[in-house]
Symmetry: C2
Subunit: 433 residues, 2 copies
């Protein structure tokens, strides 16, 4: 009975598009995903694993030996194979490469020489090249001799006898051109090929801005190495966006929603530990003012308001800056304007909410000194928040630290410390009179 | 002198690809972007505005009259025209439509009937259709009669005499097939067309999973309406990701990094106001325990630690859930597992950090009661944070509220209230003895 049902599930699974199988596995709990993976047919294993996140790829790869990996990678695109090989121990990678034929091995090794997050690591070597001197008619006949044209081929790549990139012949052009016209007459030459060492994020920006479906990749001598296709670029865009989103909560390593407890806990613990340290810093600021608080307990009631408003305002500024940096909108020429704008917004909101909180505090505690102290502290903290939120990500970015990950922790430490210090410090001054 | 320099800038600007001009305008301060927009040639205005964010589109459109809009939209893709018309006042839209020829107007009106965030609003009507009975040779000759094939055409769409969708003939197939083969033999029929009312986020998921370059859109009778292309899908993916990222900081309306002070301030003020209300709720909890704090001032020093650790842990859980919901990984069948995992992680981290904080507190204040109280409160708050962070986004999503926007505010209110309540409440009990 049970084995019949498993056979049902298995045949259902193997009738689904590989990307859907991958999505199902990613949406499954740890136990279930291992069962599902066992049920995937060997023929589509490669396609399925190519669609999984890196975290899950390495999970399943850890259970396979070199022979199994070699069988699985047969027929996979070379960029996907390279992605997989990069996650295996060096010895296993060598074994898998050794089992391939000469030509495939050379292609894969070419992709493997480039880091995963560059154009070279993103490219496939699977491209149709033509010469400039031939006619459209010759090209059409040449294509017809292929049993298949690589997927996402929107252009043929024109190269010279040294295999150097010259231009592109879009299929759209080929199909409407006079058969006797030459490639040289019809090709596009105003698209710059992508250098193999360009970071993948920059590649994604080029694709987005120019609405490309595929683009050629060249080495430093303009020799054609391969091409990048939009499907892989979409993955880069998705991963980058994901990474920024998760990093803001310190979850930069957490791609797998259904990671088991033992894998999730240490990462979360680390982040909590870092934040605990900053919380103790804030607490030690409060500690300086024990006497004042003893005298005016209302200070303890109101002090979280000053700190939290600073944190909220600063996080808004930080978020705008982090996104601006990520989409490449911020440069030296406009960052000054942006810092000034944030300062102005912080000041206006500081005065606005200082008035509101001041009035509320005086109504609540019937104490105009308290009211004045919290109003001034709030203005100081919102201006500090704007200044920190605007300059910190620019600084972190310049020294090569991810502002999405580190920015929030540092920012809230600053707004907590300045919030408590200004509020309790001013109170100590004012109530001493 | 100045006018010569402006002419230089102008010619430089109009030699750039329209998407780069748009990026330059989006990266410019308010004054400069108006000057740049003035310098853009009328011929490329349409293409440039099509690449701008909605916020900037409406900014520039507000300064144009119907005649100018009509001139600008000439030669633009119909989905881009529809996007622009949707931002104009109704009367202006009618005027622009009236100035178009019959056929164009009908096409645009068809797109306009669908909401912007559906497949219908995303599609272009610009598609090449063929019949199933013809041969490859006929198709090739038919294509050659076109002066141009629409961009992002990777497949021709096969329809019947009622204009209903039957299948797709990829150009890749056309180019390698026997010229005498019929379209019926060679076409793909296993790709379901996209219904016009499908939400754009779902369209994006289909494109991502199936690696499509373009896909046909049909009405409820399978009648072909148009097609969606990957460049517009990439925009949807980018906008969705952007929206989630910005929403977590309450910036869901802030697409424009360089918005002027007067536009930025009110939005930020609103968010600060909402958070101020929740801060007052937390403060009123502290207010209940004035007497206890007066007795043991160290409570005031340590209480932000309990609240902030809860906020940090809860935000992590919330972020994982919000992302899981956004990528469609979470369903009724696995959400129970996820809630349990988060609870377990929360508990383990609760006990771990309770021990650390407990020891630290006793060393600092030499008070074992305080140490015990903060440890228990921390455990309670981290478990509360896990439970709230996991269930709240599921609940908000079910009742149609964006969990990325509302989740954080509600969550931190809960963790603040529970943090202060458990810590100060327990302290009141323990120190009363």
């Amino acid at each position: 009975r049970d084995s019949a049902r498993i056979a049902d599930v298995s045949s259902m699974l193997n009738d689904m598009p590989p990307a859907d199988v991958a999505h199902l596995i990613e949406s499954s709990t740890p136990k279930l995903r291992h069962i599902l993976w066992q049920l995937v047919d060997t023929e589509i294993e490669g396609e399925v694993i190519g669609e999984l996140s890196e975290e899950l790829q390495s999970l399943f790869l850890a259970e396979m030996d070199a022979a199994e990996v070699a069988v699985m990678t047969e027929g996979m695109a070379d960029d996907d194979i390279a992605d997989i090989l990069q996650q295996l121990p060096g010895a296993v990678t060598q074994e898998v490469l050794a089992s391939m034929d000469q030509q495939d091995r050379a292609r894969i090794e070419r992709v493997l020489t480039y880091s995963e997050d560059t154009a070279g690591g993103l490219m496939t070597t699977d491209a149709i090249t033509i010469r400039a001197r031939v006619t459209m008619d010759v090209v059409l006949r040449y294509l017809r001799r292929h049993s298949e044209i690589p997927s996402m081929t929107d252009s043929l790549i024109v190269v010279n006898s040294q295999d150097q990139y010259i231009g592109l012949l879009p299929l759209r052009t080929l199909l409407v051109s006079d058969p006797s016209a030459s490639v040289r007459e019809m090709m596009i030459t105003d698209i710059d090929p992508i250098p193999a060492n360009m970071p993948d994020t920059e590649v994604a920006r080029l694709f987005e801005r120019n609405d490309w479906v595929s683009a050629p990749v060249v080495d430093e001598n303009r020799k054609l190495l391969g091409r990048i296709t939009i499907d892989d670029v979409v993955d880069v865009i998705r991963e980058d966006a994901d990474h920024s989103f998760m990093s803001m909560a310190g979850l930069d390593e957490e791609q797998d929603t259904f990671a088991p407890i033992l894998r999730t806990t240490p990462r979360r613990a680390l982040w909590l530990g870092i934040n605990l340290l900053t919380a103790f810093v804030a607490a030690s600021v409060i500690n300086l003012f024990q006497e004042t608080i003893e005298k005016v307990v209302a200070l303890a009631v109101l002090m979280p308001i000053v700190a939290s408003m600073g944190g909220i305002a600063g996080t808004q500024t930080l978020t705008v800056l982090v996104r601006g940096i990520a989409v490449g909108q911020i440069s030296r020429s406009n960052q000054g304007w942006l810092i000034n704008r944030e300062l102005a917004v912080g000041m206006i909101n500081g005065f606005l909410w200082a008035a509101v909180v001041g009035v509320a505090a005086s109504l609540w505690f019937n104490d105009w000194t308290l009211s004045l102290v919290i109003a001034i502290a709030l203005i100081i903290n919102l201006i500090t928040a704007a200044l920190t939120g605007a300059t910190l990500p620019l600084f972190l970015n310049r020294i090569g630290i991810d502002p999405a990950l580190a920015g929030g922790v540092i920012l809230t430490t600053v707004t907590d410390v300045v919030g408590f210090l200004s509020f309790l410090g001013l109170a100590t001054l004012f109530y001493a009179r």
